[in-house]
Symmetry: C2
Subunit: 585 residues, 2 copies
Amino acid sequence: MATRKLFRQFWRPVSKLCTGELAATPIRRTIQTSAKHAHPFPGKEHIRPPPKRNGQILALTGGGVLTIILGSQLAYPSHEKSAPAPPPSHETTTNPRTLSEPETQPVLKEGIQYYRLDEIRSHDGASARPWVTRGTSVYDITDWIPAHPGGDVILRACGGSLDPYWDIFSIHKRKDVYEILEEYKIGEISPHDLVDGKLPAATVPDPFIADPERDPRLLTLTARPRNAETPSEGLSPFLTPTPLFYVRNHMWVPPVSADEHSLTITLPSGDEKTYTLEDLKSRFRTHTVTATLQCSGNRRADMTRAVPDKGTNGLQWEAGAISCAEWTGVKLRDVLADAGLDLASPGPDAKHAQFEGAEAYGASIPLSKVLDSQGDVLLAFGMNGAPLPADHGFPLRVIVPGNVAARSVKWLKKITVSDEESTTQWQRRDYKCFGPNVAKPDWSQAPSIQEMPVTSAITRIQRPSSGGKVNVEGYAYSGGGREIVRVDVSIDAGKTWAQAELMGDEGKGSKSWWWKRWRFEIPDEGDRGGEVLVKATDESYNTQPEDYRGIWNQRGNLSCAWHGVHVGPGEGVKGGKGGDGGGGV
Amino acid sequence: MATRKLFRQFWRPVSKLCTGELAATPIRRTIQTSAKHAHPFPGKEHIRPPPKRNGQILALTGGGVLTIILGSQLAYPSHEKSAPAPPPSHETTTNPRTLSEPETQPVLKEGIQYYRLDEIRSHDGASARPWVTRGTSVYDITDWIPAHPGGDVILRACGGSLDPYWDIFSIHKRKDVYEILEEYKIGEISPHDLVDGKLPAATVPDPFIADPERDPRLLTLTARPRNAETPSEGLSPFLTPTPLFYVRNHMWVPPVSADEHSLTITLPSGDEKTYTLEDLKSRFRTHTVTATLQCSGNRRADMTRAVPDKGTNGLQWEAGAISCAEWTGVKLRDVLADAGLDLASPGPDAKHAQFEGAEAYGASIPLSKVLDSQGDVLLAFGMNGAPLPADHGFPLRVIVPGNVAARSVKWLKKITVSDEESTTQWQRRDYKCFGPNVAKPDWSQAPSIQEMPVTSAITRIQRPSSGGKVNVEGYAYSGGGREIVRVDVSIDAGKTWAQAELMGDEGKGSKSWWWKRWRFEIPDEGDRGGEVLVKATDESYNTQPEDYRGIWNQRGNLSCAWHGVHVGPGEGVKGGKGGDGGGGV
């Protein structure tokens, strides 16, 4: 089957909670499409053709993927003034129900179309003509959807208000975006449904409605989306108790039914195969792999404190954006083979495995990691012996051991084997590193973070009530399944070092995908106090840099210099509750 | 087939040229043996049983591997005084030829057996009763050979003098070793063959007789064995010209005939299969892989200078113990499969691939590296498009891309798939790293070096005769096939950094087994001068430590801190000829 590459303009849709640069500029991406899929929205073939500008075509194609050719100089698709679009057609234009309800007597202005909320709700993402509201205005965005730079996540808002989503994707709050939206305005929300001229809060959909209750011991950085780190007590066990496993959500937790959920795999040939959860469980051998997941921003707060004049962009994690669990599922390579991929000779177009989650997040990994018989990439449905919880991808998550957790896409619904990386911002931009001099990165010049460098942290300080030795403990971890072979501790600012005791935890898997716990006793310095430093070495004998002079980067990623904690009066692990056995991180 | 583990005492046989500690202490190793091989020296079944001591048996078993049980408290196998061994039997004892040659009239003392050199020569390593001489004494060491801690390398000396070998393996020059040898004395060299009471130099075998001529541009650290680094001009091309490829020999270059050379593979089952060079070339698919090889001691001199009060043990390499070549051969995994190993399920005893060279050197790698379809472990017979030269393993060398070069065993003659690492000192001791506080390492507590950490170096400074910018260039490399993604350069002691230009060299292979060349222009500081610093980052975003505070180790291994070179008056890369385009390293 012939495939075509088209350019698609897209925006970084996430707020400063998730991204490094609010003044984002658009970048271009290429998307592979398949000619056999005639239209992304079946049953809506007769919509208005996409607008032209500067002589370039907004080309609408199919394959379940929105694809548009845009001039790279376009900040946002606009609309041709010289050929105004025909007025949108609405089933209810001729007889809006707002005018036929006499029991209330709102102020209705002449010449304005009014719509009741229940009608608006019927124009949801599954309808033939999706509508949205913003403030009290109503928009039929049917014709805009194919051009939406953020993809079909916009359907999530249809049938209701855009406002709560734009509060998340704040990049939309710009004059040019408002202007585009106004072109699709069809009327106003009926005053019958307004209170004091506004939509009552209860009628505004909550994108986070499926977010679960969380353990209150988690150290929450942001509530919506939820980002919360593991407290000190959760960092002590080898396997993190599931309720204390750190939470890193880029958006909301999508409502997913295990019975209805399916995974669709698309190969470079265009062949697709869809699996239910039951298919995966019953047709493939089950494996359990122990893997530590770590956010690329773990310990970012360290870097920020070390370079206060520059700071960093991103969630200010302390040392708890890392956890370890046993994951149970089937090997992705087995499923890809079943889907028709020749593992021994996958072909020149099979270079990356792109993952899409049900909420809109996406990322990719090199296919070589999947094909590696020692790579252990899982389609996981279990975590620590139980089904995946909602926060960690229920009912299906890809687990990429040894890689940054951002590639272990939750609520997995689609895998595309492609010749290019995922085109999302999370693949092409946010999760990268640049030199300490780089203020305006050329994102194409750095590889996306996959394996992570060696790191370590002090997570707890315990002082026996009777005095004596102070017990210091923590973790060390390296990417790529490289085992930690040594942890060095210094109490004299790095002049001399001693080796910490390494715990002998054994995980499951082809390589050491898990962290190493360590502990060390230091003399009680009493009133004097001092700083304890830790650094780790992995089996490749890579080690951590001493400070942030050489690794500072604007995004604050991969903050892995020697970790130091003050012990003595006022002691405590930063970001937590302090020492004496309760130090959070 | 049942396998047994036996303990074997062994010594570090190599002089201070190759090892870190002359006052070496013995360690214990386990060796897998196979009962089906009755005796390591076929045809010599009737030798004296190995001696006992402290109630422990020196057990002689087979499998082509010498195996002995020794008490761990034994510094060296000794001999039971209470049960003296029967006198050695010699074919010539009753009629030594030295007494039947009247044409010379040397002084012969009564009661001493004299032997002529030609008779001694007939007792070489292939004979039924190997002899050696030391000084003017003659020893029948037939019964000692199975107990020799250094393995059958001792056969290399048989039929002639031990002295040149003990000059290399100077660990033997100890009273207890002399005492053991004296127990095997059978007589003296005939005075007919002595000049001024000594063996004439021409009659003493030269272990290095097969060593080739070397390019005089190589920077030689030691002549015997030859250890020489690549000069600056050799570090500039992507592929190092073969004559300038650095030479790291632990011993002599063994005389090997391509026609007669063979490779024997032993599996855990005990099954053996032997391949001629022609077998390998004709029966398996040929691959070419580009791989940088680097000594674990590369840049050791940097570490030594940085910690002058402690220093380091080992060859004081500058930054030229590294080179890059294209290697052509067959994949070891293909040959192991042919030899009968089930690659998909090799069994619990198949954990390491042990390699033995024809000169006596040995090392091993994890079998997982061999089984990895992206591991590219080659049995190489070609280098840069020509047959391997003598210094680099002619006619067969295993190439382990991404690992320390010490595992790419030259003059390869034997591969054993085992449940344990090679028992040589080069696997169990020398090539390891310990914390900067460790003076007396517990060798068992650190993993042998396999993949190497990220490093970089400045190799050339070029100043245009007309003034202006100064061109600085060098290499960056990381182990495990991890590509170098960024090289940072600083001219203000690391306060600020800029990115060097990376050369776009593309090698051959499943991963980036090759170095990355880089260049950078700095202002000509004229009379002021200053230091240029370089550091690299690999695709796992590991980077180099700033200095040696945290990575110093007694062996001086993996010296990979930021590399600095003085530019300006008196400029030059240390260890070489200096700047202005001719800086050697």
